[in-house]
Structure formats: structure tokens, C-alpha cells
């Protein structure tokens, strides 16, 4: 145990170096192949957006990385440890990531505050209850909820507030890696923009690496450093949106140059004209 946590503290790669490495990943459900020979690197300190049509296996990719879905073949390394099979130390790195599931996945019988304390209780039982409650409270406020939301039950919260509560729980252990599964889906545009801004702000303040699955083009333009495109069972392109647009894959072109893609881009140009001066 002590050897393990020693290793945990010192294994962070430098900013810009790969923190997640996926090689030759294959996922199949019966006859249906979702991923075939998929490669992807996520660099430390970036927000990487993962896009792809419905059914291209974005969520399956995330579930593979966090160990909920055992791949048929391939290798996934997170923080230098192989997460798919064999590596006992894999258990130790679960405390290094936080996951926000699509619906929030809050425990419905616990208050929001208690939801945030659950991972702390699980991994750091020596933290006193009083400190745990204080930590839960500031994490909830950091996630953009009012402090009095802490003693409410998830069923008393709106969809946007549930996502923020889920984010607070994902941040409970001060993770290095944050996985967000469609964080802005189902939010109104103002709430979605606020959530994007919150993600960016937290990423910068806390030094997070964010793996973000999204359909939201505004999110991609606004906060993602790089975008990975899933299609044809693999990652067909990774890079900034400009770099992706330079490729001629039809899906990428249609995705970013479709009416919604152009609208998101022009919104971005209006918001940050300096970035687009020639």
C-alpha cells in the first residue's frame, strides 16, 4: 500500500506528455464490432473532446478507459498503469480520476453533500467527518451550486444542478483526470455555456486533464484543446478543429461544416474575433 501511493504521487507525466495511451483497442458485442485497432493519446493538462456519430462507441471508449468495460484486445495505459487486466495496481489509480456520468448517476438515497463524501469515505477513511463535510461543501460551491444545495436530495434538483452535483462528486478526490460524458446534453444554452466555462475554469485552477465526450459543437469550439473523432471503429483524426478541417474525411467535413457546425464557428468568431484575424 505505501509503496503504491509513493508511486502514485510521482508518476504524473509532464504537461503535454501522454497521460492516457490506448493502443490497438478492440471492443465487440457479439457480432457488432464497436472498436477495431483504435489508438489514442490523451496529453496531460489538455481538454480533449471526443466526438462521433451515435453508436460509434464514445461511451464504450470511456468505459474501457475507466475499467467498466473489458476490451476484447488492446492495451490501455493510464498514468503508466495498464488498466485492462492483470495489473493489480489498477485499483489504486481509481482514486486519481473522477467520472461524471450522463445523467449525473447520483446516489438517490443520499443528499448531494453525502454523495460527495462517499468517495472520500471509501478511499481516505482517516479524514474526520467534520473535515469531510467541509471538503464536500467547498467542492459543491466550486462546482457552481449554492451551498444550501448540499443537504438536498438529487430528486429535488433540476437537471443542470444534478450535473453540477455529479461534477462535485467527480472532483471529490482531487483527481488528475476528469471524465465527462456529455456534460452539456439536456442543458439549456445558458446553462450549457456556464457549464463549459466552469469546466475550463476548474481545469485551469485544479490542473486537470479532461476527457470529454460531447455532441455540443459550441463546447468543442469553446473549451477543447484537441478533438478526437471516432468513426469507422477507430479514431480517424485527432487535433485542433482547424487541423481536422484540413483533412478530407467526409464525416469530419459534414460534422464541422454542416449548418450547426458553421453556426458554432461563427458564434466562436464573434466571441473571440482576435483569434480569427488574418
Amino acid at each position: 500500500m505505501s509503496e503504491e501511493s509513493q508511486a502514485l504521487a510521482t508518476d504524473l507525466p509532464d504537461i503535454g506528455e501522454p497521460i492516457i495511451t490506448i493502443r490497438g483497442l478492440r471492443n465487440a458485442f457479439g457480432e457488432q464490432v464497436v472498436h477495431e485497432n483504435l489508438d489514442l493519446d490523451v496529453r496531460r493538462g489538455e481538454i480533449i473532446g471526443v466526438v462521433g456519430g451515435s453508436g460509434t462507441g464514445k461511451s464504450v471508449l470511456m468505459r474501457s478507459i475507466i475499467g467498466l468495460q473489458k476490451p476484447n484486445a488492446g492495451e490501455i495505459t493510464v498514468l503508466g498503469r495498464n488498466v485492462c487486466g492483470g495489473d493489480e495496481r489498477y485499483l489504486g489509480i481509481r482514486r486519481r480520476w473522477g467520472v461524471l456520468f450522463q445523467g449525473g448517476a447520483l446516489f438517490s438515497t443520499l443528499t448531494v453533500g453525502e454523495n460527495v463524501t462517499v468517495p472520500m469515505k471509501e478511499f481516505y477513511p482517516d479524514i474526520s467527518q467534520q473535515l469531510r463535510h467541509e471538503i464536500a461543501l467547498y467542492k459543491i460551491v466550486l462546482s457552481g451550486l449554492p451551498a444550501d444545495a448540499a443537504n438536498k436530495y438529487p430528486s429535488q434538483l433540476s437537471g443542470g444542478m444534478k450535473k453540477r452535483a455529479g461534477l462535485a462528486r467527480a472532483l471529490a478526490l482531487d483527481p488528475d483526470l476528469l471524465f465527462l460524458d456529455e456534460p452539456t446534453a439536456g442543458l439549456d444554452p445558458i446553462g450549457a455555456a456556464a457549464f463549459d466555462e466552469l469546466t475550463r475554469e476548474l481545469q485551469q485552477t485544479l490542473g486537470l486533464t479532461v476527457f470529454l465526450i460531447t455532441h455540443d459543437l459550441d463546447t468543442l469550439y469553446e473549451i477543447c484543446d484537441r478533438v478526437a473523432v471516432l468513426a469507422d471503429q477507430k479514431v480517424i483524426g485527432v487535433g485542433t478543429i482547424e487541423e481536422l478541417l484540413a483533412t478530407d474525411h467526409p464525416w469530419i467535413q459534414e460534422y464541422f461544416n454542416g449548418p450547426r457546425g458553421r453556426a458554432a464557428k461563427s458564434a466562436q468568431m464573434r466571441a473571440h474575433p482576435a483569434d480569427y484575424e488574418i
Binding site: S108, G113, L131, E134, D148, N151
Partner: protein, 370 residues
Amino acid sequence: MSEVADFTVQHDEDNQAVLHFFGVLDISTAGEMNHRLNGLNQQIDIIDLDGVEAVDTVGAWVIHRLRRDHIAEVRHASPEAIRLMGAVASADEPGQVKAPEMIAPLRILAEMGEATSRALGSTFGTIGFIGSLLVSFVDVARNPSRFRWRALVRHFELVGVTALGIVGLMSFLIGIVIAQQGAVQLRQFGAEIFTINLVGRLTLRELGVLMTAIMVAGRSGSAFAAQIGTMKLTEEVDAMRTIGVEPMEALVLPRVLAAVLMMPLLGFYSSMVAIFGGAILCSLALDIPITTFVTTIQQVVPMHDFYVGMIKAPVFGAIVALSGCYQGMLVKGNAEDVGLRTTAAVVQAIFMIIVLDAFFAVFFTWVGWG
């Protein structure tokens, strides 16, 4: 934990108390650190972070709280520590993590009040539920094309056919137990032959239907509550209403009808299997041949015993289905509620069945079917 964090307290030349932090101030060291800082019983004027190697928000929170409580000055903070302390300081708001709780005497009063109003509400609710079920029954009777035959047949299968195995096994064993226990007692009077009366009358009149009803409450009543409850949670019931499908018609009516129609069949089957079990035991243990058993049972069991069982069975079926569907429709909020309602459905159904069974026993004796 191998992460090391420590602090020392010294006095500098201006006689100010300086607290030096060392090592890694993060979530893995915070528990221990917080414990030791709570034991600190002196005023701190300056917090020196010169020896801090790394800090996360939990460490920053520990420092921030110390600074806040002692109104101390922080020195030699790294840019990262300043950033994190700023973030947690801006998020420092009072609040409660646990749901508010009332003091005990008040809570007892409040719970008594809630239980009373719940009991009243549930009485009215049940009456209203039965009423709206009757309304949709009449509606469907006027428009038989609206009736969901497929759902009905499916519930025939779920309530009746798939229960045959377990009900049969249970009844067979009950028949054996009645015959065996009866034989032991009756042998003292040399009246073993009356075991046949005991098995025949008891199973047809009481136990066949009663035990079947309890089994159906456990199997199907709970399933009804859980199915409808989950559909309420996922808003399927609301979706039905919006597209003009009345949940009473689509969900409740087929289930209630299936239970009402299947219970007599299951109850009769159960009685027959129990009698068969009794016959087997009688032939093996009491040397009463099966043919004697059959001819005797025809003479000693009056026809009205069969009627009593068959009159009770559909009523019990209705109770099981009604309480299952009613509790399912009451689900709201979260997954825990589905579990509570399912339990309530089964308990309510079994309780009502036994109360009504007692009522029936008195009633049928009174009308001369003793």
C-alpha cells in the same frame, strides 16, 4: 500513507508564532494533518509554506481554514498554492451536508401525524383507485376493441402458467404435512380414516386458495408494483397519458383481470395437488389405498367446500393485483421508493387476504355452509 506532511510551530524575533508546513499537503495527508492541527492550542500569526512540496485543494482548504480561524498571514506560498487557496476561499460558504433532522419528541409527533394522514390518504386513495378502475372497466366493456387482449394473455401466463411449478410443489408438501400431522393426532382415537376428511375439506375450503393467494402475492403482486413503479420513475406512465393511453386501461386492468381469473384456477389446482399429496401419504403411511381415498373423499367433502374456495379465490386475486398496481402507481422520486412500495404491496395484500379469509369463514358458517 507514505506521503509525508508535517508542521512545526516556532516563535520568530518579533515573538510571532510561525507555523511551518512541510511535505505534501494533499487529500492523503489531510486527515492526519487536520487531526493534529485540531490539537493545536495556541494562536498562530504566520503560516509559512516554504517547505511545502505539493498541494491540492484539500491541502489548500486546510491552510485556508487555519488562516481564517487564526486570522494569520500566509508566507512563501507557491503560485499553485495561492491559486488553489483563492479557489477554496471563494467557495467557503456555510452549509449542511446532512438532511435537516428534527429533535426526537417533535419527530415522533410529526411521524405520528404523517402516519395518520397517510392512513387516511391511503384509504381515500384506495377507494379512488378502485373507482377509477371500475370506470375504465365500464369504458372498456362498452368498447371491447380497446381492451388489451395481448396484455391480458401475457399476464395469464405470468400470473398463472409460470406459477404452476412452485404452487404445485408447495401444495403437494402441504397436503403431505396435513395428512401426516392429522394422522398422528387422529390415531390416538383410532380414527385415522378421518385424515381423508381433514385433507379434503381443509385444502378445498381454506388452505389451497389461501396458500396460493399468498404465493401469488409474493410472485405477482410484487412484480406488478415493481413494474408499474419503475414505469412511473422512467415517466413511461406519463408518456402513456400524453398519447391518450389510459394507464388504468393499459396497465392495471389486464393485471387485475388476469389475477382475478387465474386465482380460481390456481387455487383449484393447488387443492387437487394437495389432496394428491395427502393421498400418497395415506397410502404409504396409513395403508389406505388410493381408490379408497378417492371414493371416501367424494362422500365426505360437501360440494359447498369447493364453492367456498372458488368464491374466495377471485376476491383474493383482486386484492393482490389491486394492492400491487395501487402501490406501483404511488411510486415517485427514487429507486428506494420502488422497493418500499413493493414491500408495502405484498404486506398489504397478505394482511388483507388473511383478514378477509377470517371474515369469509364466519360468513359461510353463518349461511349454513359450515
